[in-house]
Symmetry: none
Subunit: 418 residues, 2 copies
Amino acid sequence: MLVEIVTIGNEVLSGRTLDTNFAFLARALEAASVQVGWHSTAADAVERIGEAIRLALDRADAVVVTGGLGPTPDDMTRKAVATVLGRPLQLDEAVRERILTRIRRAGRKILPAIESQALLPLGAEAWPNELGTAPGILIVHKGKPVVLLPGVPAEMEALATTCLVPYLRERSGRRVETFTLRTAGVYESWLHEKIGQAPTAWPGATLAYLPSYFGVDLRVTVSGTDEARVLDSTGRAYDELKALIGPWIYAEGEQTMEEVLGELLLERKWRLATAESCTGGLLAKRITDVPGASRYFERGFVTYSDAAKVSQLGVREADLVAHGAVSEPVAMQMADGARERSGAELGIAITGIAGPGGGTAAKPVGTVHIAVASPEGAAARKFHFLGTRRTVRERSAQTALDLARRRLAGLPLDPKLD
Amino acid sequence: MLVEIVTIGNEVLSGRTLDTNFAFLARALEAASVQVGWHSTAADAVERIGEAIRLALDRADAVVVTGGLGPTPDDMTRKAVATVLGRPLQLDEAVRERILTRIRRAGRKILPAIESQALLPLGAEAWPNELGTAPGILIVHKGKPVVLLPGVPAEMEALATTCLVPYLRERSGRRVETFTLRTAGVYESWLHEKIGQAPTAWPGATLAYLPSYFGVDLRVTVSGTDEARVLDSTGRAYDELKALIGPWIYAEGEQTMEEVLGELLLERKWRLATAESCTGGLLAKRITDVPGASRYFERGFVTYSDAAKVSQLGVREADLVAHGAVSEPVAMQMADGARERSGAELGIAITGIAGPGGGTAAKPVGTVHIAVASPEGAAARKFHFLGTRRTVRERSAQTALDLARRRLAGLPLDPKLD
């Protein structure tokens, strides 16, 4: 099944908003064994949207549209679809009720325009949007599905995952298995060398290397018509990858490093405190992204100034002077201080130079010291992260979480590359 | 002049590579008074590329293609263009010489495939690529320019800036002006009601509402052939929007709330400390996203536990018991405590229920108290944010930054909705 994705919106077409929605959808559809054959972007104009959808219906087996479902006059997807498919818009009472209830519950004023979101093309089905007012819309037109999703990323992503992917997977008739192994602390090229041609022995399988700030995810997708063969090939791929690169895998699927760390802390009944300089709160933010983090996260110290490092964490002024704030002794004292001052069992500390300014020949931008302190003692590691301020900060936080995970799980802090 | 941009590449079409090239091109072309009317993405296949270019030539005044000019067999743009325009590929000796010189100078081995990059469609002109081997290619076909650029971002960007933009600017004869006003603390539907039909009085202008976690951006684009009229219409749009919704505008263009706050702090020579509960470090992270934040950010307290609120910020236990951690008195004491314990002039505090758990009938998920403390005293506001844990946290941080901005700028904390 070849799908066309159509992105609607002047803000995307003008280049001001990166089209992350398209990238999300294309990757999500892979899990439904659906390939993206075409992608187009249309302006917020009824004619342009209609033209894009007509063309997509001509060449693709299904059309997924994102954007232009809001309540304002520049949201024209509904009208364009109604026109191009010859399916007049009709008020859906159930959808209208859901929208009004949602707005009332939020204590917001109900403006007449909002009701336009309850207008659906004739014969359409609404997919409830748990995060906003515009529902997803499914129309099967001359046997081809046309799906309209909102453009707000969180809403689009939720609807794609819970409604669109299951729907298309059922239609495709193919069996698709997919799994993801998440690695950290190792380069894509090393993984590639280690794994080599192994995937050629997994029938129907493709292996994708997906690098990001957080490490390299390995996604295996196995597709076929014979269920038993697909499952067998999937199992083989999983076992072989675990054997080849096991020490670098920190999670499977969508699980994040902070979730893994949280589970380990709960298991051990340990509490955690963080001490951050260059990441400026990002590490604590990542940890508290996880619902229920209050069960193990005690507190965070964002000691951006030297004075804060001294007064909040007990870092020795002499060491700040002798070694500088970006140094191993300071990182160790920050981690120890976070533990001791909070009463938590585990302390994690980051101090580094995120840039763009502040680098020197001896300590260039990207120099970061990370320390972990636990009842067994403290340990620190030094890193050189490449990239922008954002990249350095993201990599620092991820690496700090990984070191804490290794310490908690009783794994070596530095697995050997062979 | 309406241009179509065509991106070539399976990597982009699969969603694995974000199409930053397109966004760059679209924005660069604005500077040439050229608007992007369409954007499409084609797979690495001669037929698909040909189909996309044929369609683009039908509807657009000019076509810009990026990607597929490399020397490997999956680079098929040259061949597709030659086929669809009926202009056979011919070896361009000057281009070939440039490529070979470049490779020799780099001490690389000359592989036969590299010479394919010296093949140009009949009648084409080559734009020299200073950063790589594939030249930019210009073909004027039946009066319409077709421009091929490499897909390597740095090479594409250099060619776009030095060759494409000047070339199209000269051809277009149109003038385009654009500006963005960023609002926070107000719903899109309210803005829309307030602005109403005003844009109809701005000749050649379109107004886009761009909602996100951070508020609603309003972008105006004015286009026309008469420069004076375009400038006049742009000025009118700007003045009228400022008059209609001025109190909600926190920035213009790409500037973020944390940047605006940072400038105000530098102006006043004030330092800032944060105290966070439910946002768990996000507020401090946002503030330190700005390079140079160390000039005004003193420290952050991520007091996730009640014990931390008491010991780190001096929140009174009696108030935690009587009112709960999510309450106005606790928010005020957190903000005051952050100021006093750090010596900073400004304290910002957030305490709330981000969810998904922890809500009650009296304090549902999304209940957030935000306080700002300065030498003038402390003030707190209560909010109900809708959405996921992430949304509640993002909105809380943005609103806290906005309240601090208003306090620093001497603006009322609650502008009146009328």
